[in-house]
Amino acid sequence: MKRVYLDHASATPVRKEVMEAMLPYFEERFGNPSTVYDLGSEAKDVIEEQRSKVAKLIGAEPAEIIFTSSGAEANNLAIKGAAFAKKTKGNHIIISAIEHHSVLNSARFLERLLDFEVTFLQVDEHGLVDPERLASTIRPETVLVSIMHANNEIGTIEPISELSAVCREKGINFHTDAVATAGNIPVDVNALGVDMLSLSGAAFGAPKGVGALYFRKKLRLMPLIHGGIQESGRRAGTENVPAIVGLGKASELASKELTVKMDHVRKLRDHLLKGIHDGIEQVVPTGHPQKRLPGHASFCIEAIEGEALLLMLEQDGIYANTGSACASKALKTSPVLVAIKIAPDVAQGSIVFTLERSNTMEEMDYVLERLPAAVETLRSFSPLWGKKTAA
């Protein structure tokens, strides 16, 4: 059966070039980078090469990159590590209400166990954080602000350089979760003005299980994993060399291909969205109409249940997402959709398509052929749809 994969925010396939680069490090070049003999020192040198490639992708210096096991670990290290390091200076943290759970729950952990206070900054109807609102929330004891670069559920890109400028004036550390953006749109830590930035390899053609945290030089960061001196003592544990090589190769490819990829997925996304809005009634777009990720289409289809639609699409070989797997498994309305004030019944029909360079216009047409029929079938069972059409 035809397979059209449109859930690249969840995971991307490992690229062939990335896989080829990784393979030698599973077998013949398996050495532990901390050892003194050539097998180890070669592995160490290879890690440093990858550090340079990842740094180049985001305009950083190699020494400012810490490899982690995921974007979630990078977010944990940023939030907890920077907060611990500044504990004597203050105990107030600000994060947006639409952060990923790895940021939200790291902040809640600090609140519950270490007497930090957390302000969850509200967003507007498009999911944007207002720099003036941020400025008014800052207190003398604020030590850390974390606002995501782009939201993976609604696609909105935040005004990070304006938000970080507010913090820089006051000497407050600023972190951004760039898991949805690094490798997908231009990301430059200096242009963004951030002190820390998290990224994940699985978002752009590297394997799962590898990520990185950028931290600006001279920033103090308490390690979360203690042990050896790997990652300059900031993250202990023998390095996952093959995965780091994969992240480096994917970063190198992304640096070269970004513009072409963005143009490609934007064209596909616009075509898909137009077709959906033309072909299906009562579709509510989510996220900002312009300030959004180019390969990201998100909306709520009224009077359907998103997960049911995903299962129907799966039967046609189409893979998408509702945007918030954790919330839907817990039978909760997505906190992101709540934050942008989507009515709870409408939020149930959330659908997110995230595109990549390998997707084609033909695939978009296939989705446009199958999606309206699936929606019509679901609506035919829906008491909500009956009420709406009767009204």
Binding site: A85, K218, R220, L221, P223, H226, S232
Partner: protein, 82 residues
Amino acid sequence: MKFVENQKADESLDLVCRMCPLHLLEPGDKMKCMKKGQVLEVLTDYDGALEDIPAWCEKCGHEFIGLEEDEDCYKLYIKKAK
């Protein structure tokens, strides 16, 4: 332990939040790029450094100038001797 005040340094190394043995490894690397007679300031919050760094200086032939207590860390001063 010898205490100093307002000691000037040519280079500074912030090792606050970094654990053993970074307080010995990083000064060694830093010293390699410094000239004889120059002073390195090491910031650390690791108590063990108060014993380890003077002992390391003696072993490596550098001069341990002294220590200053700051708000949230110790400042240790080392003069490169060779």
